[in-house]
């Protein structure tokens, strides 16, 4: 399944909490808890980009899992 590119604005919006999604995959929620905290402690564009890239990479590496596919559909349609 295609994972949107890293420059898709939705990745940063997920990290900042501007975009919310009812994720199915527990690991995404746990990872986002950490990424959100990292960004909140140092809310710079560089940190936000790093967190968004890590999130996108997570989806890319796990895109073959059924629950991750469902979460991608929820996010990007």
């Amino acid at each position: 399944m295609r994972v949107p590119p890293a420059n898709d604005p939705l990745w940063t919006e997920i990290v900042t909490g501007k975009a919310r999604c009812d994720f199915e995959f527990l690991a995404i929620k746990i990872l986002l808890g950490t990424l959100g905290r990292t960004w909140a402690k140092n809310p710079s564009p560089v940190i936000l980009r790093e967190c968004a890239n890590e999130l996108r990479e997570f989806f890319a590496q796990n895109a073959d899992l059924p629950s991750v596919r469902n979460d991608l559909k929820r996010l990007f349609g």
């Binding site: 009812d22 527990l26 690991a27 990872l31 808890g33 950490t34 905290r37 402690k41 796990n62 059924p66």
Partner: protein, 331 residues
């Protein structure tokens, strides 16, 4: 629900047959087991076939299915535990057991979210303990079955490789939700706190807990994008200068005290996915649920009762479980 509690002789025979085992039981039994493909943690409390059980005479056994391709058992210490995710197989899962109150336990709890590969591969497990009558008399231990070495400092991990048409999936059952009370956040990461921000205003946290008469059986709850993550209060002698916890609080996280649960046993049952009992390979539940809920909570899922649960990171007052899912394709 099949048999899960076995005698020492039954476990010894399984090891001799080359079975790959995850074990929990009393130290006196685990110490006598022969070498083999097993890892273990000490505890005498279980969610067993008949419900909550306390025994020093039997061992809880999880036998890996025959389709598990490969198993690697490794011992880690405080210095090497950051590599636990990097060592995980490309498709599989890792089971970690850590003795309560050792340096590796504290280090893992605080630092796991910053480990290389955090959350990339299924990491599940528990913190081993002892009988509550033996607290401060006997140390919790974990065992590397390959060497039969008992560790009171460090961790043992079984890394399991699965065939590419199967995937491991970790789930949690947490009966607690954030209450309607104050927003609480902390100045620093740690297992204790002197001060906290209460609705943005800094104050002494022990005084706040006392003033609000917070029921310490109910945890602080953080909302991780829909996953409710608990941090349990550790009871201490009053008056306390610091409030202590069984897992670290993290700065930058917004906590709320949990809502009371009217029917915790019923809530556990309601939150169990239907038919999950037959599909769960391994599970464990927090000793605080065992103590406060009474039955350990669940109706279908068995497992050791633990001094902390691990689903990618340390959790409290939560049931964690792992299932193996068949894929209609290969990864």
């Amino acid at each position: 629900m099949g048999k899960v509690m076995y005698t020492f002789d039954e476990v010894r025979n399984r090891i001799a047959q080359g079975k790959k085992l995850l074990l929990a039981g009393d130290e006196s039994l685990l110490r006598k087991l022969p070498p083999g493909d097993w890892v273990a943690g000490t505890i005498p409390y279980f969610m067993a076939e008949e419900g909550s059980l306390c025994t020093r005479d039997k061992i809880y056994v999880i036998e890996l299915p025959a389709f598990a391709l490969d198993v690697e058992i490794k011992a880690y210490d405080e210095e090497t535990i950051p590599k636990v995710n990097a060592d995980a197989p490309g498709n599989g899962f890792s089971v970690i057991i850590i003795p309560a109150k050792c340096n590796t336990h504290y280090s893992f709890a605080l630092n796991a979210p910053s480990y290389e590969g955090f959350a990339q591969n299924p990491l599940i497990g528990w913190v081993s303990g002892v009988h509550l009558d033996d607290l401060d008399k006997i140390t919790p231990k974990v065992f590397n079955g390959v060497t039969t070495e008992a560790l009171e400092e460090g961790a043992v991990v079984m890394h399991v490789t699965l065939p590419r048409d199967k995937v491991a999936d970790i789930g949690i059952i947490n009966i607690f939700e954030q209450g309607e009370g104050d927003d609480i956040s902390f100045l620093a990461d740690g297992f204790s706190a002197k001060e906290a921000y209460i609705n943005g205003k800094k104050r002494n946290f022990a005084e706040y807990v006392s003033e609000k008469r917070l029921d310490k059986r109910l945890p602080l709850v953080a909302d991780y994008y829909g996953a409710m993550i608990n941090t349990s209060f550790q009871e201490g002698e009053e008056p306390e200068e610091e409030v202590r916890f069984y897992a670290p609080v993290f700065s930058g996280v917004r906590y709320r005290h949990a809502k009371p649960v009217k029917d915790p046993i019923g809530r556990f049952a309601a939150m169990e996915p239907a038919g999950i009992g037959d599909r769960v390979l391994l599970s464990c539940n927090c000793i605080l649920n065992y103590l406060y809920v009474g039955s350990g909570g669940t109706t279908e899922i068995t497992g050791p009762t633990t001094f902390g649960e691990i689903a990618y990171q340390l959790l409290n007052q939560t049931l964690v479980y792992l299932r193996i899912i068949d894929l209609p394709y290969e990864r």
